[in-house]
């Protein structure tokens, strides 16, 4: 990716650029903590920012990295405007993980791996995550459903996520 002094209008296809990379940008923004609506908006801002500048599409990986950087900048800009504190504490680590897990396929394989890894979890752990992410249940509700304390529910979900992470790492190696 580099700035081009004389942009060639035929050098890239904006529709293809968007279609090829929008899912990756959107997922990356979600991983940065954006709600889906904000991810929609910032994905749009990202592509608008890129499309307004001349650039050359060297290869998909470079373009994806460039788009992620632009997306991150869009998020930072949003947070500054909204006077919000950045919630991603270790952006470098997140970027590194994202690069290794989802850097070249928009995160498709990552999502696929997670789907398969859910089978590894115990029934209770899977139920807890389903209540949390599918039903949007509060920790209190999850704890009640599993007949355990709220701290217990929290620990259960954290352990489940850790298991998922390890499983994903093994599958994506």
């Amino acid at each position: 990716m580099k700035a081009a002094s004389t942009p060639d209008p035929t050098a890239f296809d904006p529709v293809r650029l968007i279609e090829d990379h929008q899912a990756g940008v959107w997922r990356y923004l979600r991983a940065l903590g954006c709600e889906s609506n904000l991810a929609d908006d910032l994905t749009q801002e990202t592509f608008l920012a890129v499309l307004q500048r001349p650039f050359e599409d060297y290869n998909p990986a470079a373009t994806a990295a460039y788009l992620r950087r632009t997306a991150y900048n869009a998020l930072v800009s949003f947070q500054r405007r909204a006077k919000k504190v950045t919630t991603v504490e270790n952006i470098d680590e997140l970027n590194q993980n994202w690069e290794s897990w989802a850097g070249d396929d928009n995160g498709e394989e990552l999502v696929d791996a997670l789907r398969r890894c859910l089978a590894v979890l115990s029934d209770r752990a899977r139920l807890a995550l389903e209540l949390r992410f599918k039903e949007r249940a509060s920790r209190e509700t999850i704890a009640a459903a599993l007949e355990m304390s709220e701290d217990g529910a929290k620990n259960l979900m954290q352990r489940a996520k850790k298991t998922l992470r390890e499983c994903i790492e093994s599958k994506l190696q």
């Binding site: 929008q22 997922r27 991983a31 889906s36 608008l48 307004q52 990552l110 696929d112 789907r115 996520k161």
Partner: protein, 687 residues
């Protein structure tokens, strides 16, 4: 931003896998916004353009732009001032004071001038601002009228609760009201035959002028299948198909359409199909707190009873009560606003969805920036429309229940605030897209803004044309615009005259959905074959409807689909342990010759698995066959006739036997049949 980020990537993926929050297709939206930006830089907007003129009718608020107060927290980033403005403001702080003095003085002068106009209204006779006219004409008329702005009417609520209209926005002591209702003028209804003839003539004229030769008409069997799918959402049964094809009645197509639309035996299927279709539309990109079951239930009743669509729309816009089935004050119609409610964002989403869904006006981009491609007033227009929602109240609790009600607006005039690109915060008062103002009273008892909005929307030209376009799109797979919910000079309809005619007659026939569908289904374009698909369906091209648009897909031949089904079913058996002999997943099943990566195969199989059950169970006939007491052989025969209108060939029988042979458990045969149904229904031949 969410609050559960102990492992952000895993959390985001779980949200997607378990919560269903998958990446949306934003291509059209981004390209549209890009197009606006590009046009912006290239040239100023034409004064004759539609949104420009419509927006020009919006009454300016000369004093509002200098209000720097920001009385409530604004979460939406697009409503926030740019950070550099704070620096600029501090540098220019000395000059700002004098500027404010000047602007206030200037605004006062303008008010005085307006007051002078008000006290002598007879000096400027005002044409009716609500005179009905199709989009293009009214746009052109407005653009040529330099006095359009002060013509914006103000509707007041008289003591007897009737609506009265004032020709100008004025202060209390200046009110001069004239009693009028929001007009609901409709053209003279034509007969069904006249309307169908008009569609055909307008289409043919278009073909002739464009030198286009339409595709050949389809045979009876294909037309029968198409009309079943489009009107009631399922394939015809073998018996229904045979009866239609063998009929010698001269008007058998009309009779079949009438039967599917009006026949008692089809009411449930008609209502079910259209309630599912409209639930998809109304809940698209919506919050998961909304109950799909609730809104489907509501719509099923509305479509089943033949409720005029303007009434349905009004009920959706004005609904109050609980969105949850089983609650004492349950009202399924509330789920539309619940799906798009963002109380913390000032209901910007609700504004955008109402505008787009019911008027074909895509104003999302306008909420955050001035779009001079259109008018320079789009942002103001968006927030003026948003002001209609300032009495809307949606209470949510943790168990996904939402309660919709109306309450007095937060501020005295019920205004909403937004940020201009230059950082100024501006107030917006309720003004409809055609420039009609309503009183600024915040009290629900005095002025119920959602009630008025529902009347203004459903009596607007935009509504009737947007709905005609939407139903046309549902029957053809593509509307007069792409997408169907975005109409304007930036995206003009391919057949403006026809769209205006259909919209007008839809209104003239009391927004009778069945009548509108009947006209479209009996039109000549609906009966054309798909023709050479390769030469058609270019996105962005104006569709001539000289062929029946065919959905793009990666569907394969029946045999190929059956092989995919076999692999998918074998994978299912292997994973679920239905069969004691795990099947091997071969990474070479494919529509193509290139071996696929294992993950891609897994994804394909997962998709097939999800679609298999959905496809087979989404139709009455699918359920009937799968649950019947017929033998496996009979079921297979029926499935072939239901989807392909023919018996299976020898090679297909062999492939079917291989799918069934993947299971040794009798109980799992039904699942195998679901996969076979998927293969048949998703084959190229089934389209």
């Amino acid at each position: 931003m969410n609050d559960k980020l102990d492992d952000p990537i895993i959390d985001a993926c779980l949200d997607e896998v378990l919560g269903g929050q998958s990446p949306p297709d934003l291509t059209s939206r981004i390209l549209l916004a890009w197009n606006h930006l590009g046009s912006n830089a290239a040239a100023p907007a034409s004064s004759a353009s539609w949104p420009s003129d419509v927006a020009a009718s919006s009454t300016q608020q000369p004093t509002a732009a200098i209000q720097l107060r920001k009385p409530k927290a604004v979460v939406n980033s697009r409503r926030e001032a740019s950070p550099w403005l704070a620096i600029a403001a501090s540098i220019a702080i000395v000059g700002l004071g004098s500027a404010i003095v000047w602007v206030v003085w200037d605004a006062t002068e303008q008010r005085i001038q307006r007051s002078n106009q008000i006290v002598a209204p007879e000096a400027q006779p005002q044409p009716s601002p609500m005179a009905p006219s199709p989009f293009p004409e009214s746009i052109a008329d407005n653009s040529r009228d330099p006095h359009r702005e002060p013509q914006a009417p103000v509707i007041e609520v008289a003591p007897n609760n009737s609506l009265v209209i004032d020709p100008l926005p004025v202060t209390e002591e200046q009110v001069q009201t004239t009693a009028v209702n929001i007009p609901d003028e409709r053209p003279t209804p034509l007969t069904d035959e006249q309307i169908v003839r008009a569609i055909n003539e307008l289409m043919r004229n278009n073909w002739i002028s464009g030198g286009i030769t339409p595709a050949m008409p389809v045979a009876d069997d294909e037309w029968c299948r198409r009309v079943h799918l489009k009107l009631i959402g399922r394939e015809p049964s073998q018996k229904e198909l045979a009866a239609f094809v063998e009929s010698r009645a001269a008007r058998k197509r009309e009779e079949l359409v009438d039967l599917l639309l009006q026949g008692e035996t089809y009411i449930e299927e008609f209502a079910g199909h259209w309630s599912r279709t409209w639930s998809d539309i109304l809940l698209a990109s919506g919050d998961k707190r909304a109950s799909r079951e609730g809104i489907e239930q509501y719509l099923r009743r509305a479509f089943g009873q033949g409720q005029p669509f303007n009434e349905t729309t009004s009920e959706l816009l004005t609904a109050t009560g609980s969105s949850t089935i089983g609650d004492a004050n349950y009202n399924g119609a509330t789920n539309f606003l619940v799906a798009h409610s963002d109380p913390e964002g000032g209901y910007a989403q609700a504004t955008a969805h109402v505008s787009r869904t019911f008027m074909g006006l895509s104003l999302e981009c306008s909420q955050c920036h001035v779009d001079s491609t259109w008018s320079g007033n789009e942002q103001q227009r968006f927030w003026e429309l948003n002001a209609f929602f300032q009495q809307l109240k949606i209470d949510r609790n943790r168990d996904r229940r939402s309660l919709v009600s109306d309450a007095d607006a937060e501020y005295a005039d019920g205004e909403t605030y937004y940020t201009l690109p230059d950082g100024l915060v501006r107030a917006a008062y309720p003004v409809f897209v055609d420039g009609t103002e309503i009183p600024r009273d915040a009290s629900v008892e005095k002025v119920n803004r959602r009630d008025l909005l529902a009347k203004l929307v459903t009596r607007s030209e935009q509504f009737r044309q947007a709905m005609a376009n939407r139903f046309w799109a549902e029957l053809f797979g593509v509307g007069f615009t792409i997408p169907a919910d975005n109409i304007g000079p930036h995206n003009p309809p391919s057949h403006p005259e026809l769209l205006a005619k259909l919209g007008g007659q839809f209104a003239a026939h009391d927004y009778d959905v069945r009548a509108l569908i009947r006209w479209i289904a009996l039109s000549e374009p609906f009966a054309l074959s798909s023709g050479d698909v390769a030469t058609h369906d270019q996105i962005g091209a104006k569709l001539a409807f000289d062929h029946f648009p065919q959905a793009k897909s990666t569907r394969g031949p029946v045999l190929s689909q059956l092989r995919v089904a076999q692999e998918a079913y074998a994978s299912y058996v292997s994973q679920s342990g239905v069969n004691s002999t795990p099947a091997r997943v071969t990474p070479t099943i494919t529509p193509g010759v290139i071996p696929m990566e294992l993950s891609a195969v897994d994804k394909l199989l997962a998709t097939v698995a999800a679609e298999a059950r959905q496809l087979s169970r989404s139709t009455v006939y699918g359920n009937y066959i799968l649950d019947s007491d017929m033998s496996i052989e009979q079921k297979i025969q029926h499935m072939f006739f239901a989807t392909l209108h023919r018996a299976p060939s020898a090679s297909e029988q062999k492939a079917v036997a291989e799918v069934l042979g993947s299971s040794s458990s009798p109980g799992s045969e039904k699942t195998a049949l679901e996969y076979i149904w998927w293969a048949l229904a998703s084959s190229q031949e089934a389209r």
